[in-house]
Symmetry: D2
Subunit: 347 residues, 4 copies
Amino acid sequence: MNFASDNTAGAHPDVLKAMADASAGPASSYGTDDWSARLQGALADWFGHAVEVFPVATGGAANALALSQLAQPWSAVFCHRESHIHVDECGAPEFYTGGAKLVTLGTPGQKLTPDQIVAGLADHPRGVVHRVQPGAVSITNANECGLVYDPADVAAIADVTHDAGLKLHMDGARFANALVHLGCEPADLTWRAGVDVLSLGFTKNGAVAAEAVVFFDAALAENFSYRRKRGGHLFSKSRFFAAQFLAMLEGDLWRELAGAANAAASALGAAAAAAGFPPVFPVQANEVFLELPVALAAALRSEGARFFPWHPETDQVALYRFVCSFATTREEVEMFSNRLKLSAARI
Amino acid sequence: MNFASDNTAGAHPDVLKAMADASAGPASSYGTDDWSARLQGALADWFGHAVEVFPVATGGAANALALSQLAQPWSAVFCHRESHIHVDECGAPEFYTGGAKLVTLGTPGQKLTPDQIVAGLADHPRGVVHRVQPGAVSITNANECGLVYDPADVAAIADVTHDAGLKLHMDGARFANALVHLGCEPADLTWRAGVDVLSLGFTKNGAVAAEAVVFFDAALAENFSYRRKRGGHLFSKSRFFAAQFLAMLEGDLWRELAGAANAAASALGAAAAAAGFPPVFPVQANEVFLELPVALAAALRSEGARFFPWHPETDQVALYRFVCSFATTREEVEMFSNRLKLSAARI
Amino acid sequence: MNFASDNTAGAHPDVLKAMADASAGPASSYGTDDWSARLQGALADWFGHAVEVFPVATGGAANALALSQLAQPWSAVFCHRESHIHVDECGAPEFYTGGAKLVTLGTPGQKLTPDQIVAGLADHPRGVVHRVQPGAVSITNANECGLVYDPADVAAIADVTHDAGLKLHMDGARFANALVHLGCEPADLTWRAGVDVLSLGFTKNGAVAAEAVVFFDAALAENFSYRRKRGGHLFSKSRFFAAQFLAMLEGDLWRELAGAANAAASALGAAAAAAGFPPVFPVQANEVFLELPVALAAALRSEGARFFPWHPETDQVALYRFVCSFATTREEVEMFSNRLKLSAARI
Amino acid sequence: MNFASDNTAGAHPDVLKAMADASAGPASSYGTDDWSARLQGALADWFGHAVEVFPVATGGAANALALSQLAQPWSAVFCHRESHIHVDECGAPEFYTGGAKLVTLGTPGQKLTPDQIVAGLADHPRGVVHRVQPGAVSITNANECGLVYDPADVAAIADVTHDAGLKLHMDGARFANALVHLGCEPADLTWRAGVDVLSLGFTKNGAVAAEAVVFFDAALAENFSYRRKRGGHLFSKSRFFAAQFLAMLEGDLWRELAGAANAAASALGAAAAAAGFPPVFPVQANEVFLELPVALAAALRSEGARFFPWHPETDQVALYRFVCSFATTREEVEMFSNRLKLSAARI
């Protein structure tokens, strides 16, 4: 009953096998190996578009490096006030961009809207030397509350972003979950909708460490390899990281695994609703948010459930996040649902 | 016959198996898992000293992050003019330190000496606001030319470093090779000799990606976790990285693998000498440097040998580097030696 | 009728004379001159406390450098959402701190409260590696709306700041205006109330360019001279900058000039109220904020008045800021008041 | 007998008068005043070329900001090993560029040559991700040893710089001294010879603080205003800084003052040669370098002379630098020459 995060799961056996297979024989290092070359092609196929792909160690690195390519040190990066890049990366975007300012917008628990971005832009007029200048827009899909921007949502945001002369970044730590929820193609949610750079994360999806910055315009990737290298994110034995992506793409493993995670979340959400705790946000990807009495949360934990409060537990009722992964089993969800029902009855 | 680098080898099967084993079941993420906890203890045993260990993605990150902890943005970091941190990391130390200056010392092809460091210190008097201030000293062991600082070498450098109020960093990308050459304990070459921070690299030694910053004084590691996080080097599924280290330590796998690499280099060096090309530097670790006619190098490459010139091949004779890894076979060395002898005869 | 800012005034003749006087003969450079030494003593007298003083070129530099000394790159700097450091310095604090995050708190048009800081602290728990860490608190006095924190206000903020193990910075671009409003001593509003570092600005007060970072604890100023030098803020002919401060302190010129500015603002505020436009915020220092019809503002401008809207003029009524300086004359205020009355009657 | 530096002089009375004159009445701030506008035109006339001019507080800031505009964080900035930007700015270029590496070339006491730059470029091949990439070239004119690059020197360096796709920066802290020595036009030594950006320093020449970054191509100055602002170098009362430049240009005051300084140095050099201490480097601008017994230097100091050793005085004989300014009098030079002759005879 570990719902603490989708990164508490291990890796899918096919990913581990792909790494082991990749180990045979010598290979060029630092991204010049065959696996890395094949990855470039495989992702171009996946997206239906030429791409420039740069694997890095973590999603945090992917996001921060991507933003450093889009924004200047004197830029404003517009993002949701609950965005991972603002709240959970200990200032990595500020570090990599050389001090850009993350300008936070939007309403907690809701997706960012084009109007909110337009308002943010209005607060940062171009050419006013005293104010940080519009630099980039970043959204997370699926977002931090488990909500999914559909292609129309993304396109509307991309429009105001591009109208302002900016580029659009998407934090895709749970990109596969979004795709599966929507049942759409990777293209629909990225370049076709106007995304310029994607942080593509397959780690939560089932890999060991498979995170990459994906550019849909080679010109936009100019000099990016130096940024990555300076960040210490160019793996010497790069084949082992390219191989993980290839394994996730092979036979649409990503879809199977994200589907499992989403389904588990959906089941958990339904069970919670049945127990009197309807999810606070629509369950679209693999996350469920429940308002629970703190005492109830404690009881659940004492029975082995693992999950985090979304905010500090300062009141008697708090908001909790439950994340399902590819490894979450039906049994786990059922067991948790039963415990929730029973504990709720007791409290 | 791939002598391009020791990172062109794959990973040892035991490392891959350890990763697969670590995959079972849920585990806390971001370094709070059991494997990471065990790693802390295992390395404390290995070093015979309490340590603070921070796995990161690459040796470049380990070095740059370690230096950022020791030096201030206005510091001089004293290092050898051929050091990897200066020559081969695209400015990563400058990035992570916030702009410290790498002050290069020493003679090409030779180890750094205490006198050279003392001279560097004299050029950077404390309190002169115009000049960058003494910040840290960094040496590579085994170094970039395959030479090994023995405990007395290290201690002598540590003495002048500490006398100046600075800390000593060791780039241990080939630390195991140095240990095996010397036949000494990890302690002898680190804290006992005065090393304050070690970049411990097991990747070249046989892992997929096992690099860590190791502090021998917990106080010195204060706030380091934030630096690592900001760099995007805190792995979410951290167990897979700790597990690699544990596999390398298990049954002294590191020693077996470094021993194999060193032995291969030794054999290659001897064969080259026999063919009329005595190694330019003593073969101590797993690297052999040969001065060869450029035409001979081309002939060797055409027969399948892989290796790099140490400097651009601007003259008729150039210096070449041959690196052996744990995966280098006796047959490869013999085949190369034969080709070298034959080609040399023809040119 | 220039109320655009208090920095549209020239310099007081005594300041210019002091600079001319300081020009005679040779003097050591880079802050080692006699004037700089005397400044240290003069400010110690002024504050009734030992100080470390570092003149710099601008208030923006003073603020950013001061914060870089208090906060780490992975820090949160808590400040008011309308604070100059956040809104008007094009990211200078982010640049100098190496990417710290300015966490904005408070209500527009009001002073920051201790409770708001406590809430900000609660959102940034220590030791959570994902979140930027509490680093410093900064307030502006007089603030951006012309409001003045009195000693009790400052002490209450200092208490929660120090309780959290942080240091308190005060942006004193209009410090003299605050002092005059309160009729208190420099000590009362700084170290005695718990301020650790002050950006002391005499430029708006009547100098050419007299801005300094003032530390009340020498230990806190350690290495600050290197930061200043790296920022390019150590003047070679430093005597000319120290001399300006000395001129402002001489015979309490600062008080006379701030008194004039505050009195002009007070008169302007009273006249506006009489004309039917009561100041939106209490007029405490030298700024007056009026809500005016945009058409009225345009009319006033056409008659030669200079002033800025506080926010973009998107509606029919907007908020405007009027700043008085030492050079604002009674005639100017009267003329403006008459125009306001007449124009208001016509619109 | 103050030969410690040309910045130990005060300011010329005309400069101080210009500042006082500029003080009358209100003026727009932050560089939007009339003086700043006139400066743009006056320097365009002076250079015979359209320019973009950005006054800043110090020469260090001018250099570091200029380089940050030309180089990327992953760049190599090629410069002389004795260049002020490398030796005397406490790492300001590294700070402003975000960590670029200053690659030092050349022979002490000599000007940088095109061949040396070509060799530096060869060591930093484009596209090799491990190595910092060619970013910019910087020369100082007159240089740190008082030597002057003539237009042909500059053009030859500009050629190899531009051939490599780089821009050429000139540190002109003593630009006027170079011009006067050569008797050429500002154009000859800058854009006409291929200089892309000049740090123009009139402070040593006779101003209070008159330093600016001058671009000869407006496109190259794009976004520079944000960099300057972030560095805290946009003066609020900017008129006082523009006025200084205007005073120096008025009636060619710069030439008169640099001429006086150069003549004094020439006289001092001749006197030293006559006393048996011929200048170590040709006396071209306003600096004289003498090898003197340390005991002799001590004797001269005890008689009131002020000057610095060029390197630490570790031997019995050391190299000393004597700098003349516009304020150096014939009497001072004569008195020093006599003392030198007498002291030399006694030692």
